[in-house]
C-alpha cells in the first residue's frame, strides 16, 4: 500500500490546486445557468425526448468502440517499439506517435476523400471491377477516423509505462517458471494498466468532445447535436442541456475509471539502480510485426499527408499561389507553447495531491480537470464568452482569456502524464528528503518536480499538440485578427478551397511533429 508522505498537503500544493479546480467549474456553472433558464420544464422536455436518448447511445457506442480499438492498436505498438528487437523501432515509435498531430477536421476530410464510396481507393480498385466501396459515413467512418488520430494517447502512455517498469517483476515471474506469454499477461499488462487506462480515458473523452470528425462523417453524437441546436434554433438552452448530459456521461466514465484504479503500487520498491527490461527477440514474428506497424502508420500518417500534398500540387498546377502563412505559424507555436507551460504548471499541484495525498477531495479535484476536456470546444468557448464579456471585460478578447480556455480545455492531458510519472517515483525518496530536514515546499521543488520531469514535459507536449489543432475557442476567444494555422486551414476548407488549405495543414502537422519527435527521441536516449 502506498502511504501519503505525511498528513496535510502543504499550501503550495492545495492553494493552487483549489484555484485550478475553481476555474474548471466555470463551464459547468455556465451550462447549469443556461439549462435552467426556462426552469425545469425545458430541461425535462429535452431529457424526455426520444432523440436525446438516441444521441446518448450513439455517443456511448462511438466512445466505447474508439477506445477499444485504440487500445488494441496502441498496446501492441507500444510493446513492439519498447521491448523488442523490431527493426527500426525508434523510427516506428516516432511515426506511431505522430498521427496525434493530424487535426480531426483534416483527418476526416482526408479519409472521406480517400476511402469514400467513390474515393481515391475506389479509383485504384476500379480496374478490378470495384464500382463503389461501402459507405464510410456514420459510425464506421467516424470510429475509424477517431481511432486513427487518437490512439497515440494510449501508445504514448503505454510505452512510457513499459519503459519505466521495473524489470525485476518480470524476471521474478520468469524465474518462477512462468512462460513469456503468461508473464506478459499476468505481470507486464497489469503493470501497464494505469498508463493504458489514463490514455484510454483521454481517447474516450476526446471522442465525446470532437466535432470535426463527427460533423464530416455525419455521426450524430453529442458534439454534432449540440452544434445543430445552435444552428437550427439559435436557442442556447437545448444545447446547454445536451452539454450538461455530456458532463454527466463524463462523470460516469470517470467513476468507472476510478473503480479500475485500485491502490496498487507501480514504483520500484527494492534497492539498486533502475534499469531497462530485457529485449524480446521477435524471430520470424518480425515480419507480421512490421506489416502491422506499416499498416497503422500508412493509414494514420502517410495517407493524410499524401492527400494534402496531392491537393497542394493540384492547386499549384492550376496556378494557386503557395500560401506559407508564417505569421499564423508563429502565432500557433507561440500560443501553444504558452498554453503547454501554463497547463504543465497547473497540473503539478493537482497530480501531487492525487498521488501523494489520496482521498476523496484530491480525487474529486483531479477528476474535475476532465470536465473541460470532454466538452466540445464550442460549448467551452461560449461559456468563457459569457463569463469573459460580462464579468472580466478587461481580458475579454485578449490572449489571456484564450490561454485560460486552452488550459481549462486541455489540462487533464498534463495531469494524466504528470500523475503517471509521479506514480513511478518512490515516496521514500521524498521521505528521505523530509527526514534530512527539508520542508514540504522545498521537497516538492527540489525532489518531486525534477523526478517527474519527464511526465511534466510529456504532458506539456500533449497540450502543445492539441492547442495547435484547437479551433472553436481560437476563433471565438482569440484577439480579433489572431490567425493561427488551425484557423487558416478552417478558413480555406469551410469554402472548399482544398488546395489553399493544404499548405497551412502541412505546416501545422510538421510544426506539431517537432515536439512529438523530441519527446520520443529524448526518452529513448535515457
Amino acid at each position: 500500500m502506498q502511504r501519503p508522505s505525511g498528513g496535510r498537503p502543504p499550501g503550495l500544493v492545495w492553494i493552487p490546486a483549489a484555484f485550478v479546480a475553481a476555474a474548471m467549474l466555470l463551464p459547468l456553472g455556465y451550462l447549469i445557468l443556461r439549462s435552467f433558464e426556462d426552469g425545469w420544464s425545458g430541461v425535462l422536455e429535452v431529457l424526455l425526448d426520444g432523440s436525446t436518448l438516441a444521441v446518448l447511445l450513439r455517443s456511448i457506442s462511438l466512445a466505447v468502440i474508439v477506445t477499444g480499438a485504440s487500445i488494441a492498436v496502441a498496446v501492441p505498438l507500444a510493446w513492439l517499439t519498447a521491448r523488442t528487437d523490431l527493426p527500426g523501432r525508434r523510427t516506428w515509435a516516432v511515426l506511431a506517435a505522430l498521427p496525434l498531430v493530424v487535426p480531426s477536421y483534416v483527418g476526416g476530410l482526408v479519409l472521406i476523400s480517400a476511402l469514400g464510396p467513390r474515393g481515391m481507393l475506389q479509383g485504384v480498385l476500379a480496374p478490378l471491377g470495384v464500382e463503389r466501396l461501402p459507405e464510410i459515413y456514420g459510425l464506421p467512418g467516424a470510429a475509424l477516423a477517431l481511432t486513427l488520430f487518437s490512439y497515440p494517447y494510449v501508445f504514448l502512455t503505454a510505452r512510457a509505462a513499459l519503459r519505466g517498469m521495473d524489470p525485476a517483476l518480470e524476471e521474478t515471474a520468469r524465474s518462477l517458471g512462468s512462460g513469456a506469454w503468461k508473464t506478459f499477461f499476468r505481470v507486464t499488462l497489469p503493470q501497464m494498466r494505469p498508463a493504458v487506462v489514463a490514455g484510454a480515458l483521454l481517447v474516450a473523452l476526446y471522442t465525446l468532445s470532437d466535432f470535426g470528425v463527427v460533423s464530416l462523417l455525419q455521426y450524430d453524437s453529442f458534439a454534432r447535436e449540440i452544434y445543430t441546436q445552435y444552428r437550427s434554433a439559435f436557442d442556447r438552452t437545448p444545447a446547454a442541456i445536451l452539454g450538461l448530459m455530456l458532463v454527466a456521461l463524463t462523470a460516469a466514465i470517470l467513476y468507472t475509471e476510478s473503480r479500475t484504479r485500485g491502490r496498487a503500487r507501480y514504483h520500484r520498491s527494492g534497492v539498486g539502480t533502475a534499469r531497462r527490461g530485457a529485449q524480446v527477440n521477435l524471430g520470424r514474428w518480425k515480419w507480421p510485426a512490421l506489416v502491422f506497424c506499416g499498416a497503422v502508420v500508412s493509414l494514420a500518417l502517410v495517407l493524410p499527408i499524401g492527400i494534402l500534398l496531392f491537393w497542394l500540387a493540384r492547386g499549384l498546377v492550376e496556378g494557386e499561389p503557395l500560401r506559407l502563412v508564417w505569421g499564423a505559424a508563429l502565432n500557433s507555436v507561440y500560443v501553444s507553447a504558452a498554453a503547454a507551460a501554463l497547463a504543465a504548471l497547473a497540473a503539478l499541484p493537482i497530480a501531487v495531491l492525487a498521488v501523494r495525498f489520496p482521498g476523496r477531495v484530491s480525487g474529486l479535484l483531479e477528476r474535475l480537470t476532465y470536465l473541460g476536456y470532454a466538452l466540445p470546444g464550442i460549448v467551452l468557448a461560449l461559456a468563457l464568452v459569457f463569463f469573459g464579456s460580462n464579468y472580466v471585460p478587461a481580458i475579454y478578447g485578449t490572449l489571456g482569456i484564450l490561454l485560460f480556455a486552452y488550459v481549462v480545455h486541455f489540462l487533464p492531458q498534463a495531469v494524466g502524464a504528470t500523475r503517471s510519472a509521479l506514480l513511478q517515483v518512490q515516496p521514500s525518496v521524498e521521505e528521505a528528503a523530509r527526514g534530512l530536514g527539508k520542508g514540504p515546499t522545498k521537497v516538492l521543488a527540489t525532489v518531486t518536480a525534477p523526478l517527474t520531469r519527464s511526465g511534466i514535459i510529456a504532458g506539456g507536449a500533449l497540450v502543445f499538440l492539441t492547442t495547435m489543432k484547437e479551433l472553436p475557442a481560437t476563433l471565438l476567444l482569440g484577439p480579433i485578427g489572431f490567425d493561427t494555422l488551425a484557423t487558416s486551414v478552417w478558413t480555406a476548407t469551410s469554402e472548399a478551397f482544398f488546395a489553399r488549405a493544404a499548405a497551412p495543414a502541412i505546416l501545422l502537422i510538421l510544426l506539431s511533429a517537432v515536439p512529438m519527435y523530441l519527446l520520443v527521441i529524448r526518452e529513448k536516449k535515457q
Binding site: 539502480t273 507553447a337 481580458i395 489572431f482 480555406a492
Partner: protein, 375 residues
C-alpha cells in the same frame, strides 16, 4: 534517479526542458501582459508586452475599439470577404477588425455577449441567423437609403438587415452523362424512379435546408415530405457538403446533385475548366431555383454604428458588388451591376417568390429531414 549518475552529456539534456519551460513562461507572461484592450492595466504591464516584438504590439494596438475602428463578426469566410474589408479600410482610413467564424456560432456568441458585445456589424452567411438575431432584438433599423439599394425580397421587411450578395440553388450535372435537355423543369420530378442511384445531395448543408424550408412554404408540408421520401427511395448519395457533392458529379459518382451555383465555378478555378460538370437552373419559379442571400445588420449596442452603416454602403457599392460576382462568383444584388461571366443573369433565373426572412423555421425542416430519414 538514473539520469543523475550519467555522462556529462546529460547536463545539456536536463537543461533543455528547463529552457523550454522558461521560454514558454516568458511567452505566456508577455501574452497576458499585452492583453488588456481597454488600456486598464496597460500601465504596469506594457513593458512586458513590448519585449515580445513588433508583431504582437501591433496586434494590441489593433484591439482598441472606439473611434476610427469598426468591429465586425463575420460568418462569411475570410476567403470570400477578406479583400472587401481590406479595400474598405484603404478607402475609408477606418481600422476594421474582423472576427471570422461559423455564422451560427458567432450569432450565439453575440447573444452571450449581450449588452457588452464589442460588435458593430454582424455579417452572416445566411438569412436564418439574421432573422434569429432580429427576433432577439439585437439589430438597429437601417436607413432607408441603404435598404433601397437592393430589391425588397433580398432584405429584412422590418429594415433590420440587408442582403449583400446572392446565390442560386441549381442542379449540377455531369456533362459526360447528361445534357440540359435531359433534366426536368421542376425539382419535384427527381422523385421519378429513373433517377435511382444517380442523385447526390448534402442534407446537412444550410442552403439545402433553406431550400427545403422554402419548399415547405411554397408547396406545403405534405408535398415537401413526399418529395423527401421520394428522393430517399431513389437512394441518393449523401455528401457532407456541397463541394464534395459537386466533386461527386464531376467524378461521375452521381449524375446530378442539388447544390449552390458557385461550387462549380470555384472547382473550375482550382481544378481547371475541363471539369465535366455544368449548372442547370430549374424553371417556372420552382423552389429548386431558390435564390438565397448573405447579409448584414448593425447592432443596437454598437460603439460605432456610423462606421458600420458606412461599411454597408461600401458593400453595396458597384465596386464591392463587382468583386462579389467576379471573384466569389456570387450574384450582385444592387441594380446596375452585371453578374460576372459564366453566371446566368439573376433576372433570367425563374426563382420562386418567397420571403427570405420567413425561412427561419429551420427546426421544422430539421424535424422533417429526420422523420424522412434524410438526416
Amino acid at each position: 534517479m538514473r539520469q543523475t549518475a550519467k555522462l556529462p552529456k546529460s547536463a545539456t539534456r536536463r537543461l533543455l526542458p528547463v529552457i523550454f519551460l522558461l521560454t514558454a513562461l516568458i511567452a505566456s507572461a508577455a501574452a497576458c501582459g499585452q492583453a488588456p484592450p481597454q488600456g486598464e492595466k496597460s500601465g504596469d504591464q506594457s513593458s512586458s508586452g513590448e519585449t515580445t516584438g513588433g508583431g504582437e504590439t501591433t496586434q494590441a494596438e489593433k484591439l482598441k475599439p472606439g473611434e476610427g475602428s469598426l468591429v465586425v463578426y463575420s460568418g462569411r469566410s475570410e476567403e470570400l470577404v477578406g479583400p472587401i474589408f481590406e479595400q474598405y479600410e484603404e478607402e475609408s482610413g477606418m481600422d476594421v477588425q474582423v472576427r471570422y467564424g461559423d455564422t451560427a456560432e458567432l450569432a450565439a456568441t453575440i447573444l452571450e455577449e449581450g449588452e457588452n458585445s464589442p460588435v458593430d456589424l454582424f455579417f452572416a452567411q445566411d438569412p436564418g441567423a439574421l432573422g434569429a438575431l432580429s427576433d432577439a432584438d439585437v439589430f438597429e433599423k437601417l436607413p432607408e437609403k441603404l435598404l433601397d439599394r437592393v430589391p425588397g425580397k433580398f432584405r429584412s421587411p422590418d429594415g433590420l438587415w440587408v442582403g449583400t450578395s446572392g446565390r442560386a440553388r441549381v442542379v449540377a450535372y455531369n456533362s459526360d452523362e447528361l445534357q440540359a435537355k435531359d433534366l426536368p423543369d421542376s425539382i419535384l420530378d427527381f422523385t421519378d424512379p429513373k433517377w435511382e442511384g444517380r442523385i447526390g445531395w448534402a442534407p446537412t448543408n444550410g442552403s439545402f435546408q433553406a431550400f427545403v424550408t422554402a419548399l415547405r412554404n411554397i408547396e406545403g408540408e405534405d408535398t415537401a415530405r413526399e418529395w423527401l421520401e421520394g428522393i430517399e427511395s431513389n437512394n441518393p448519395f449523401v455528401y457532407p457538403d456541397n463541394s464534395s457533392a459537386l466533386e461527386g458529379v464531376a467524378s461521375g459518382e452521381v449524375d446530378v446533385a442539388f447544390v449552390n451555383h458557385y461550387y462549380l465555378l470555384r472547382a473550375r478555378e482550382e481544378q481547371g475548366d475541363d471539369l465535366p460538370a455544368e449548372n442547370y437552373y430549374l424553371k417556372n419559379g420552382d423552389p429548386g431555383a431558390l435564390v438565397l442571400v448573405s447579409g448584414a445588420g448593425v447592432l443596437k449596442t454598437a460603439d460605432n454604428p456610423k462606421a458600420a452603416e458606412d461599411f454597408l454602403r461600401y458593400a453595396l457599392s458597384d465596386e464591392a458588388q463587382q468583386y462579389f460576382t467576379e471573384t466569389d462568383f456570387e450574384y450582385p444584388l444592387t441594380r446596375g451591376v452585371q453578374p460576372g461571366k459564366n453566371l446566368e443573369p439573376l433576372s433570367e433565373i425563374e426563382s420562386p417568390d418567397v420571403d427570405l426572412s420567413n425561412l427561419d423555421d429551420l427546426e421544422g425542416t430539421l424535424d422533417l429531414l429526420r422523420e424522412t430519414g434524410a438526416l
